[in-house]
């Protein structure tokens, strides 16, 4: 009985979390929600009798992917701050190189 309740909570929360990831305006918040989505997904895999996948999901989906997203987000924010400098450099590059 308690397992059915647990499943029910998972089924409700997972799509809500997914919706929240897509609907938040702040990307950092979205990444954090994505990590928590990954952790809940890992619980869902356990309930589906797939402990191997649960381990992999927790480590990769929540851990490594979260770190990757945060690292990419940092690099993005840096590059946006240097926007003007990059703009000028890219113009120079575009004039020098004709590419196909």
């Amino acid at each position: 009985m308690i397992l059915i309740l647990f499943d029910f909570v998972l089924i409700i929360t997972l799509p809500l979390l997914g919706w929240a990831v897509l609907a938040t305006e702040d990307i950092f918040k979205a990444v954090v929600l994505f990590v928590s989505f990954g952790l809940l997904m890992s619980l869902a895999w356990v309930r589906l009798n797939a402990p191997d996948v649960a381990l992999a999901e927790a480590a990769i989906g929540a851990g490594v992917t979260g770190a990757l997203f945060l690292s990419a987000l940092n690099k993005l924010e840096r590059s946006v701050k240097h926007e003007r400098r990059i703009n000028r450099d890219e113009e120079k590059e575009a004039i020098n190189e004709r590419e196909i």
């Binding site: 609907a23 992999a56 490594v64 770190a67 690099k75 946006v80």
Partner: protein
């Protein structure tokens, strides 16, 4: 990746996206579509019971020959080992793709530790994030490596295996890089390349050597199949760990810059 980053310059300055009305319309339409699809699928699946499981019946007597006791590992590495070989190659491709895109400045490997905000010589002896991280790393990394090794070995008889152990190793690598980003420049790139290639190469070599034992590709010789599988798993775990770490670093080592790392 640099090109993609410069592409972001066209976007607004703030990292907050603004949702317009048509975004909400699109979102509602897509959700309705997906909801209909899911409901239809649920109805279709619940309507008819699954048929007789031919695959399970065929597999049941074969598990003893697979060399491992965990059915998941048996299928993953023995019966359908070819799929796993290709999946390991997919991870290698991911690393290859990331490396083909950008180089990483070894004096500034993570970009967010620029000389302006972080000293080039981190202070491991005074208070601050570097000290905490360094202590944590000193305790955690050996534990993580140990647990990763155990997970890889334990895949033979319970949940675990190469991907799980490799993911843990990847996490350990990421932690190391976060703690001491300057270390990246001291690792010879050839070693990193070797580490990335090691897992897929071992898998491929084991598969080819099965020809020598008179079998098909990836047909392990019967009595010792378990040890072959273990060899593949450990190689794959190491490679997966190193590949995930290089994915996090986000670029290949820059051969020209490496020579000048000693200069301030």
């Amino acid at each position: 990746m640099n090109g993609g980053l410069t592409g972001m310059k066209k976007r607004k300055q703030s990292m907050k996206g603004k949702f317009k009305r048509k975004d909400w319309q699109f979102a509602t339409l897509t959700s309705l579509l997906i909801a209909t699809l899911v409901t239809f699928l649920c109805w279709a699946i619940l309507k008819e019971p699954p048929g007789e499981d031919l695959t399970a019946e065929a597999l049941a007597p074969l598990f003893v020959q697979s060399g491992v006791t965990s059915p998941v590992t048996a299928i993953l590495l023995n019966f359908r080992g070819y799929d796993t070989l290709l999946e390991v190659m997919v991870l290698f491709l991911a690393g290859l793709g990331i490396w083909s895109q950008a180089t990483v400045d070894p004096t500034n490997p993570l970009v967010f530790s620029s000389p302006a905000t972080h000293p080039t010589k981190p202070n491991f002896h005074g208070p601050g994030p570097e000290l905490i991280l360094a202590t944590l790393v000193r305790i955690l990394i050996p534990l993580m490596v140990l647990v990763a090794g155990y997970l890889t070995w334990a895949g033979g008889f319970q949940a675990g295996g190469a991907f799980q152990g490799g993911a843990l190793l990847g996490g350990a690598g990421i932690l190391l890089i976060l703690a001491e980003p300057q270390r990246i420049s001291t690792i010879p790139p050839a070693l990193i390349r070797f580490g990335i290639v090691l897992g897929p190469a071992i898998f491929l070599l084991v598969g080819v050597s099965c020809f020598g034992y008179g079998g098909n590709f990836l047909q392990y010789p019967q009595p010792g199949a378990g040890s072959w599988l273990l060899l593949i798993e450990f190689g794959a775990a190491i490679s997966i760990g190193i590949t995930l770490t290089t994915l996090f670093v986000g670029g290949r080592p820059d051969p020209k810059r490496l020579k000048g790392t000693d200069q301030p």
